[in-house]
Symmetry: C3
Subunit: 216 residues, 3 copies
Amino acid sequence: MAINSLFSFLKPKENKFFPLIIEVGSCLHTAALLLVEFSQTTDKKKAKEIFLKIKEQEVKCDGFTNNIFEELNDTFITPFDREDIHTLCERLDDVLDYINSSAKRVVLFQPKNIPEKMIEMCKIILSCCESIDIILHELKNIPRRPYLVLEHCSKLHDLENKGDDVYEHYVTDLFQNETDAIEIIKLKEIMQCLENTTDIANIVSKSVKKIVVKYA
Amino acid sequence: MAINSLFSFLKPKENKFFPLIIEVGSCLHTAALLLVEFSQTTDKKKAKEIFLKIKEQEVKCDGFTNNIFEELNDTFITPFDREDIHTLCERLDDVLDYINSSAKRVVLFQPKNIPEKMIEMCKIILSCCESIDIILHELKNIPRRPYLVLEHCSKLHDLENKGDDVYEHYVTDLFQNETDAIEIIKLKEIMQCLENTTDIANIVSKSVKKIVVKYA
Amino acid sequence: MAINSLFSFLKPKENKFFPLIIEVGSCLHTAALLLVEFSQTTDKKKAKEIFLKIKEQEVKCDGFTNNIFEELNDTFITPFDREDIHTLCERLDDVLDYINSSAKRVVLFQPKNIPEKMIEMCKIILSCCESIDIILHELKNIPRRPYLVLEHCSKLHDLENKGDDVYEHYVTDLFQNETDAIEIIKLKEIMQCLENTTDIANIVSKSVKKIVVKYA
């Protein structure tokens, strides 16, 4: 074995991990863009098509996450602990699950219309996914300069609060203006799922902050 | 002190832990079997009796978990970290709490009938508990051969997705076929609790996968 | 540099942390006291004033938590791991978020009246915050004498079960006595948020128990 290939064998095989996690971020970002488009579509056939594209991103993301989990079993992702990376990936997966589930509920429950505040919530989710995307690109730099990462973690915290606020005012409006109790239950169920997406996005930021506390 | 007893004193006292955690798995399995029976019982008096048997398993499981926590304070459970075992046990406890709470809600809320999809959900919970039971029997073998454990972790992930699906289709049916809003709220509340049970079962699998990532 | 100041430089700067976390506990306690007062107030104007005072505690608590996070980045909090302290603080913050959110929902949704069981739930939350307050005062003593801490962790577990029970019986009453479906949805939504507060208080106790398992 030549000295060169010996060194390349010893070199931590971290190269695969960072590109993979960037792909996960890209799936989330794409799915969130589709969700906003979905929420603005009144044509039910087109809405269903967009929902299927969101579903595709979810499947694609699952593939990347599984690849990362396999990588974790036989590589060191310098300088992070396996378990921290594992937790982070699971939570990223959860965000996409919730996006998918929210769209699915709209398709299944068929509410009479999509209220303006629901579109607003989808845009908040898009902002969350944009921040997550930036964080995942910057993951590698946490030990040296964690500032951009921390800035977007703090943004995810604010977006969750904004999500709470939109949810609460939306439900207040519902109670005041909608007289059909079943329609209230439907819309609340969908909006709850969207609001949970912003909660999970903030839980992603908690995993990231924990990594910063440990390695920065 | 003879050399023999000295060695037995030094030997990690791990013997108690594995039998105890297998007992916890057995409580979960029994409770899930009772839950399926409960969901299929139309006689209210008999249903209440089964509910009390589920409650018994919960109390029994609490006892085993407390014993494990005491063990954790004065023994090393080679080769796992105390805190990982601690987290796992708490989540196992949560699964049984949710099973118990689901049955309790049926007893308290007295819905007009138990829909077919609710029985289906209880059977999914039973499959979850069967997988957890196998995982707990195999815990000891994680460092050498984690394959069966990982197979059932992946099964728990699939069962959670199946649970989601049954929940969403069930609620869709409810919105289409039930006109009494209060009955919808009741049934949704019970079904939500059952669906949460499959979520927690998957969170158990996340603790286990974290252990595999660390020790396998 | 004199020898004295050299030593004081080397001495772990843990002094700031313990007073700060005691301030967090004090915010929680004050907010819970206000919540009980809020739940007993029928005058809507006065209720809104109390809600704003709860909000103040939340902002104050955020300040203390941020100070702790900054401390964590450049100090060792002997003898605990940074990440355990970090997780604990996040959960303490969550408790106050839920208290605030519960009061906010009452202000926004304007239910016809505040049922007795809701006041009871607020008193359970007060007991939770009293236990958390004691735990935070005792945090320093975990390595030497964790008994008082463990006693209050166990109390938080019991209070969560009590909260569950009050919630379930309350919803049962609602289904039996309230005929307005929209009012049911409103009251259930508020009560759910209060009940979640007791869940999070128990999750605080889980972080603490994990610290005890590691350091006691």
